[in-house]
Amino acid sequence: MLNYVIKRLFSMIPVLVGISILLFFMLRMLPGDPAQVLAGQMASPEEIETIRKQLGLDRPVYEQYLSYLGRLVRLDLGRSARTQNPVIEEIWARLPNTALLAVVAIGLACLFGIPAGVISAVRPYTWVDYVVTMGALFGISMPVFWLGLMLVVVFAVVLRWLPAGGTGGWQHVVLPSVTLASFVVAFIARMTRSTMLETLSLDYISTARSKGLRETVVVVKHALKNALIPIVTVVGLQFGLLLGGAVLTETVFAWPGIGRLIVDSILARDYPVIQGTILIFGLLYILVNLAVDLLYVVIDPRIRYE
């Protein structure tokens, strides 16, 4: 198992190098002189020259890339052009907020998505099934930021039950996490339904039924347990979607997370922060998928990683 983890961590290196190349060239793709863009329109030639030296733009491209890579390895993501704080500090300060939203949202999505998918598969082509499948399709088609705005109108403006935005107690987490979960719950329900439908048609399910086991035991213990692997995969893949959704949800609810940071940085053309946040998002996405791979062993003892 440990060998497998180490092997998987090493297999991440080419992808990370790929990401670093993309991010490195991102700044070079800017129209015009990157030093000029970073320094701003009002900067003096001396300031531009200082930034050019700082960024090493006067050196050959391969040297620039290697030094960029060296800094990345040391988690030195540069300084924010706006606040002059180290980028990594800006990210660390907001990471717990985004993590809280993501974890609650994934938890809610699993809590509602998996049972909905199971019920739908157990009663296929009934009204329950149609409600779940159409509900899931509606969820996938709905813009999260619009749902967020509508939830604010209903629960903050009309009913005055929950705050419209910001941070504080648990009340502040409800609307953003429900908004974020809405998109993911639809995918989980759809995947659970299709996997359960396949599993429920297998021979060992017929055997379990013919043994006289209760339907709940057949569905939960025999079918769902075996259908969990594709479901967990979808949950892992949806984490990426969640990060994208976090950018929009955090904007709707003025939630001080990484998503909000990236939008503010784009609007302020703060490239070091943009690069840093995108790198961290990429890293998180890869790590979550690694965790999902490892979770397979826990779910399915037949899987052995050598």
């Binding site: 129209p31 399709l137 813009p143 705005l149 950018v247 929009l248």
Partner: protein, 296 residues
């Protein structure tokens, strides 16, 4: 919706024939959800094409005296913060959103499909190189990749299309490559190769037609995603810019009026939702109709 976990639509044995297309059409017509999606989509196309007839006047021209009017017989969906008719802007918004959707999938198709064909057909170092770049691009969730590209390219319709289009390229590469890997082993491809047909001709004449089915499904679903992404960028203020009547940008500016005029945020959202729903319903229907395992 199909029972299958994976749409198996790139089966080379199922060659396009008159009979197959007839069966596909019958299956698609019997799928009520897909028909509803198709009708909804036609309505949007109708609005986009006939926008100047359906709404007379300039949807971007402000009229501050009528600002934030609620829905009424005069203005069916009310007016926004600058007194502009929301109905007019929603109708004209269909033009922008459909234009973006077509543009985005065109970028994805024009770059992703050839690269997927080359990667799957030739294999070797070219395949390795293309796949590693694809891996790196897929390491970013689609919307974040589009966001990163917009931050470099800047705002506006063209850059929105290019950014979202680029973020879709790896999906097309992966999809086409996986189908080509199956199709290239078929006897007719081998026969064409033995007869001395050039690789380019084999790819265009024998392989491309057999991967068109998954591409069609992906294109329909991709258009829905493109509208969602574009609206998301518009909402954040880094996509299509006001006063262009883009649904996402309309929602972005409506955020400030949720407490006194919630209708401003309601209708553009419904327009986005129904447009994306129409593409998703149609895409699901196409997949089921084109999947040979899914019976009528």
């Amino acid at each position: 919706m199909s029972e299958a976990t994976e749409p198996n639509v790139c089966r080379p044995a199922e060659l396009p024939s008159e009979n197959r297309w007839r069966r596909f059409w019958v299956k698609l017509r019997r799928n009520k959800a897909a028909v509803a999606g198709g009708i909804l989509l036609l309505l949007y196309v109708f609005c986009a094409l006939l926008a100047p007839v359906l709404f007379r006047g300039d949807p971007a021209a402000p009229n501050l005296i009528l600002a934030l009017e609620p829905p009424s017989f005069k203005d069916l969906l009310g007016t926004d913060e600058l007194g502009r008719s929301i109905l007019g802007r929603v109708i004209y918004g269909a033009r922008i959103s459909l234009l973006i959707a077509v543009g985005v999938v065109s970028v994805g198709l024009l770059i992703g499909v050839p690269l997927g064909l080359i990667s799957g057909y030739f294999g070797g170092k070219v395949d390795f190189l293309i796949q590693r770049v694809t891996d790196a691009m897929l390491a970013f969730p689609g919307f974040l990749l589009a966001l990163a590209l917009v931050s470099v390219l800047g705002v506006g319709i063209n850059n929105t299309v290019i950014s979202i289009g680029i973020s879709m390229i790896p999906l097309y590469i992966r999809l086409v490559r996986s189908c080509v890997l199956t199709v290239r082993e078929e006897v007719y491809v081998e026969a064409a190769r033995a007869a001395g047909t050039r690789d380019g001709m084999i790819l265009l004449r024998h392989i491309l037609p057999n991967v068109m089915v998954p591409i069609t499904v992906q294109t329909s679903l991709g258009m829905g995603t493109a509208i969602l992404f574009a609206a998301g960028l518009g909402f954040l203020g880094i996509g299509v810019q006001p006063p262009t009547p883009e649904w996402g940008a309309m929602l972005g500016s409506a955020r400030g009026y949720l407490f006194n005029a919630p209708h401003v945020a309601t209708f553009p959202g419904i327009a986005i939702f129904l447009a994306v729903l129409s593409f998703n319903l149609l895409g699901d229907g196409l997949r089921d109709a084109l999947d040979p395992r899914f019976k009528i």
